[in-house]
């Protein structure tokens, strides 16, 4: 069975704890993305799975076997590196063939396999060139081919698309997704690009400071972020996180004060159990609505900067006490810098985070 499991994996580098009690299960055929800002421990986690780093504690289980003490080559995994890590002195063909030497395959079988993989990734025309003679996109595909050719138990990708330009990234994203779907192996992809994670992964694990803050489907992490950090990390433009004073719940509506302005928001029933005090309210820029006039359910802000994005317009507004609020309005709504806006929130998309940053939700 092609599965990966991490049980309470921790990694220290001297005084620094790069990875803290990470638990993760990747089922056969599942693609899990480790997503987070740089330095959050996602690459270290991947290297621990690969066996390039040793876990300080915890277990790495691949295909049901504890692999902690095994060398990378004994784990039956393939990894695609951020900078491709092609062997510079070998041609594309030799690069792809390289992993096969372990199996001592018959030369004709080996070359048939290489040819099949090369055809799948459209590399036939560049097989006899050296890595520095081919384009970035081709290097990327050679790196994928080299990983795929050995037919390993599971795949690891470290920032696979970070070096490609925007257009190539889109095609490679779907190419890799197609290849992975055909192989149905457990796959872990590390990325800092949420779009990459949202589009490629079955589940996304969002990491910060060595801790997985949430593992869920793309839909869940977007709709129900477990923490304020996840909420701010997923979604563009970024979710508004406003510091607010919580003053109680009345018939399903929470009463808050944002920068002194009272506002009523429809909230999750769990919020009723929350003690009065400081909370963080999360509202996505697209969940804010421009009201004609100020009301008890809205807050006011002055438009500071207006950025047309094509289909929509992003407005940066500022409350009287200086909190920034991002609002996305349809293209046909005229907003100019300096306008005073009354904003109310779409009730279904209001998130309340307690003082520790955890979502308050039933």
């Amino acid at each position: 069975m092609s599965t990966i499991e991490l049980r309470d994996v921790t990694k220290h580098f001297g005084a620094l704890t790069a990875v803290k009690n990470v638990r993760l299960t990747v089922a056969a055929g599942e693609v899990v993305c480790l997503l987070g800002p740089s330095g959050c421990g996602k690459t270290t986690t991947l290297r621990i799975i690969a066996g390039l780093e040793r876990a300080s504690s915890g277990d790495v289980i691949i295909a049901g076997t504890r692999m902690n003490d095994l060398r990378p080559d004994q784990r039956d995994i393939a990894m695609v590196f951020q900078f491709y890590a092609l062997y510079p002195a070998l041609t594309a063909r030799e690069n792809i063939t390289f992993p096969l030497h372990v199996e001592k395959l018959d030369a004709t079988i080996a070359s048939a396999r290489v040819a099949r993989v090369a055809r799948m990734l459209q590399l036939e025309s560049v097989l006899d060139r050296l890595p520095n003679q081919i384009s970035e996109g081709e290097k990327q595909r050679v790196a994928v081919a080299r990983a795929v050719v050995r037919e390993p138990n599971c795949f690891l990708f470290d920032e696979p698309l970070s070096r490609l330009d925007v257009e190539l990234r889109q095609t490679m994203r779907s190419d890799i997704k197609t290849v992975l779907r055909g192989l149905s192996k457990a796959t872990v992809i590390v990325t800092h690009d949420q779009l990459e994670a949202l589009t490629m992964a079955d589940r996304i694990a969002i990491m910060r400071d060595g801790v997985i803050e949430q593992i869920d489907s793309a839909h869940e992490v977007f709709a129900k972020p477990a923490t304020a950090f996840v909420a701010s990390f997923i979604g563009t433009p970024q979710m508004n996180l406003l510091h607010a004073q919580f003053e109680g719940v009345e018939d399903g509506h929470g009463r808050f004060k944002i920068d002194g302005q009272p506002i009523r928001l429809l909230v999750d029933p769990a919020v009723a159990k929350l003690a009065k005090g400081q909370v963080t309210i999360g509202i996505r820029p697209r969940a804010l609505v421009l009201d004609k006039a100020a009301s008890a359910d809205s807050i006011s802000g002055k438009a500071e900067l207006v950025e047309p994005m094509g289909a929509e317009t992003l407005v940066h507004a500022r409350t009287p006490l200086g909190s920034d609020i991002r609002v996305v309005v349809p293209r046909d709504v005229p907003v100019r810098a300096g306008d005073v806006l009354s904003l109310s929130a779409d009730a279904r998309e209001t998130h309340v985070f307690d003082s520790s940053g955890k979502a308050v939700r039933t």
Partner: protein, 315 residues
Amino acid sequence: MTDTAANPAEVAVRSRLFQQFVGRIRSRRSSIGIGDAGWGRTVLAAIVSFIYFFPVFWIILTSFKTYEDALAVPAKFFFTPTLDNFVHVFSRAYSAGGPVQDTGFALYFFNSLFISGVSVLLALVIGTVAAFGFSRYPLKGNDTYLFMILTTRMLPAIVVIIPIFIMFRVTGLAGTYLGIITLYTVFNLPFAIWMMKSFFDELSPDVEDAARIDGSSDIRVFFKICLPQVLAGLAATAVFGLILTWNEFLFALLLSGVETRTVPVAMSQTIGGDIGVRWGLLAAIETLFLIPVIIVTFALQNQLLRGVTFGTVKR
């Protein structure tokens, strides 16, 4: 949804700025194109490089002169060339009218080639492996060892030679091939290690990790993956090591014996004799002495140049 500005006015401004920028580059190209530094600079470069080359040129010229031509004042640039000097390098009469004898220079040339070749090769092999070790499997206090092996190169040779002379006397290595080859190898090693370490440090560790995941042993990683990437470094190290060893005089003078004498030492002993310094003869030795170094440097030139494009995995 996208972050590209769709504002037509801004796009127009941007494209105009871009065209101006391109235009400026083009106009600069047309006045001073790449690969065309102009005649003035070319002539200047020719003059400067000829000044560098002049002593070598003068030696080569002198090697074809007769005894009288070599001493002529003012110096002669045009004369009837003779090959006598080259013959005399290997066999000549030591006094006027005396018997023609073998000078032993065939042996000295062999010694120079053998001693330099073997010691540079050894330094390269040991140095490369050691450098890989220093780079990939650092010891505790790695830099201390790297620093210590350099210390002997920090003092003038004339200072270091006294303890080394005693070490050679005690061990009985003085005058033997083993002794002088060991000495040169040890001397070339720090340079080889430092040089090769810097090349290994430049390599992407990801490539090696990839090879390990693909099932390569450390040995295979070293030979198949790392070594092919540092060929330029090997070539440069070999050339510099060879030039240093080939021309070394002081240690060879004090530590080589009659049988293991190298050309620089033998050359110095040619000066003197009853008819004064035979400049033509000396120049002939030097001219012959130049040839191997020039051949090696030329042969490795391509590798040396490849050092410029070093590193396919850029970060």
